[in-house]
């Protein structure tokens, strides 16, 4: 213990002090810390609004409206009838950003979930079992990391491209490595803890040790990684769509809307400004929330 650590005062209330009211749980303390992080709160609110925009708005601006072409109205700037203007074939940009939001966000979330599942399984196995398993899995992970993600995305999209489910699969399969490394690091250190040895001495089976003992204790970095994974996935979808290999029109995504605006950057800026702004807002907000979560969930940080 450093000289400074040894003088920090005891803070926990011992239940033998006549207090029956439980002191704050981990969650409550974490929530408190999160609340004090202004950017994180801003990010959370923005995200909530974005979700309402995309999913709530989607009930009004349905997919039909988004795909309804009216070439007489093509490329018209924002007006009361079309608040965000229309695109090259006369579809309402506002409606398309809403529907596109639904698709982009859903892709982001689902790909992130897939990443997390794969990353946790591989990272946990590598970290917990160590030895040959660890070496093999880590070499594989590193090999995947070396390949430029964008290149991988493009190649796979070329081979399979277009279908939303395949896109999610590709996104998940190309970015689980970051999560795996984090999870492996957590497992490597946590498995040396005495409560793991205690569980073994009781006879707890390995499966339970991994999922009930160690995993709950490594949630903090996983949650943070998961949050950022959503942002990464949304951006990745935008990239491949921008290159024309993502979800194909008429289905709208923010990414393919950008692609469609390529030739009209100066003449019809509303084609890229709105989807671009939405992507920006979403990714920024997720990053702020991720920052806030990292501070809130790290028990060692003393920013109270």
């Amino acid at each position: 213990m450093s000289a400074v650590d040894s003088i920090s005062p005891p803070v926990t209330l011992s239940p033998s002090a006549d207090e029956l009211a439980p002191p704050l749980t981990f969650r409550q303390m974490a929530w408190r810390r999160f609340r004090r992080h202004r950017m994180a709160m801003f990010g959370s609110i923005t995200l909530i609004l974005l979700f309402i925009y995309a999913f709530g708005g989607g009930m009004i601006y349905t997919a039909e409206r988004a795909n309804f072409t009216d070439t007489s109205q093509r490329l018209s700037p924002p007006s009361p009838e079309h608040p965000f203007g229309t695109d090259t074939v006369g579809r309402d940009v506002l409606a398309r950003t809403i529907q596109g939001g639904r698709v982009s966000l859903m892709i982001g979330l689902t790909a992130a979930i897939l990443e997390i599942i794969i990353g946790v399984l591989i990272g946990a196995a590598a970290g917990f079992f160590g030895g040959v398993t660890d070496s093999l899995l880590m070499r594989f992970t590193e090999a995947m990391l070396i390949i430029p993600a964008l290149f991988l995305l493009i190649v796979m999209a070329r081979l399979v491209g277009g279908n939303v489910y395949f896109i999610i699969l590709i996104l998940g399969l190309t970015s689980w490595m970051y999560v795996a490394r984090i999870v492996r690091a957590e497992f490597l250190s946590l498995k040396e803890n005495e409560f793991v040895l205690a569980a073994r001495s009781i006879g707890t089976p390995t499966r339970e040790i991994i999922f009930r003992h160690i995993l709950p204790n490594s949630m903090a970095p996983i949650v943070v990684a998961a949050t950022l994974a959503v942002a990464t996935a949304i951006l990745a979808e935008a990239y491949i769509s921008f290159l024309g290999m993502g979800v194909q029109p008429p289905t709208a995504t923010w990414g393919n809307m950008l692609d469609g605006s390529y030739n009209y950057i100066e003449s019809a800026p509303w084609l890229w400004i709105f989807p671009g702004l939405l992507i920006l807002l979403t990714v920024l907000s997720i990053n702020f929330v991720g920052d806030g979560l990292r501070d809130a969930l790290d028990p060692r940080s003393r920013n109270i």
Binding site: L197, P216, N217
Partner: protein
Amino acid sequence: MIDNPALSSINQALADNGDTRPLVRVIDLKKHFPIRQGIVFQKTTGQVRAVDGISFEIDRGETLGLVGESGCGKSTAGRTLLGLYPATTGESYIAGQHVQTAKGEEWMLIRRQAQMIFQDPFASLNPRWTVNAIIGEPLRVHNLIESDTGRVERVKELMALVGLDDRYINRFPHEFSGGQRQRIGIARALASDPLFLVCDEPISALDVSIQAQVVNLLEDLQARLGLTYLFIAHDLSMVRHICDRVAVMYLGVIVEMSPKDELYEEPLHPYTQALLSAVPVPDPKQARKRKRIVLEGDVPSPINPPPGCRFHTRCPIAQPHCATHEPEWREIQPQHWVACHEVEPKFRS
């Protein structure tokens, strides 16, 4: 062992069956840890000989103390004898069951009958689990009680047994003080109705005023439940207080073992003598009168223990042959075992 042996039912059954074997037997147990170097292909460049051949027995109801300084291998010995670390060579038996070859059902039986209490009251409890989950885990893992409510009842009983208020059954470890957390660990160890408990420095991390509480608790539990203890510690005063027999370890081997008063009043091995003389005594007049044997130098590394008798590099009475011949582990007097060249001759006649 308090003079009130209330044997638990299993103990009684074993005794009735004429099973008079000691509850725990350890025969030349060794545990070496390989030192690996290399990035891709790891080569073993040496061994840490943490436990290098120890043998002893513990009778039912007895408390054997295992003492030594840091690096002597006492913690490793406790874990290896329980089977938590695979032994390099040698054997241990718990209630007649061979630990190193136990699998499946036999393994689970050992995991029920033998438990461990850990040193760090914070690290040995999962911080995300409630007290209920922690203490109830053995009940769940071994299917001892099927229903959730049944388990909660039993957890409350165990909490009462160790002196914890059962109103706090759904709290988390960080809400308790060190002494209370240690009690939680003890309750967990008792959940499966064990016969044998390895106490690995159970009080070292606690304040002095709390140590006495926990030690008294351990004694009470032993009397009530007929438990057998291996008490691993470095606090020689506490070991004298609670144990019946004591074994002294140095660099992976036991150098002396005997009933406690004999060991403390007439230590035969020079290391035991030095160790005892270095223990501070809370009595200024005594402290002034004492003759301290202050050993020179540091404890050698368990990677390359000195040849011959491991202690010869620091031994005040070392002779030339101590550097070449490892002394034999001999029962010099009834129940009193020593490994030292210089001690034997005095007793031969």
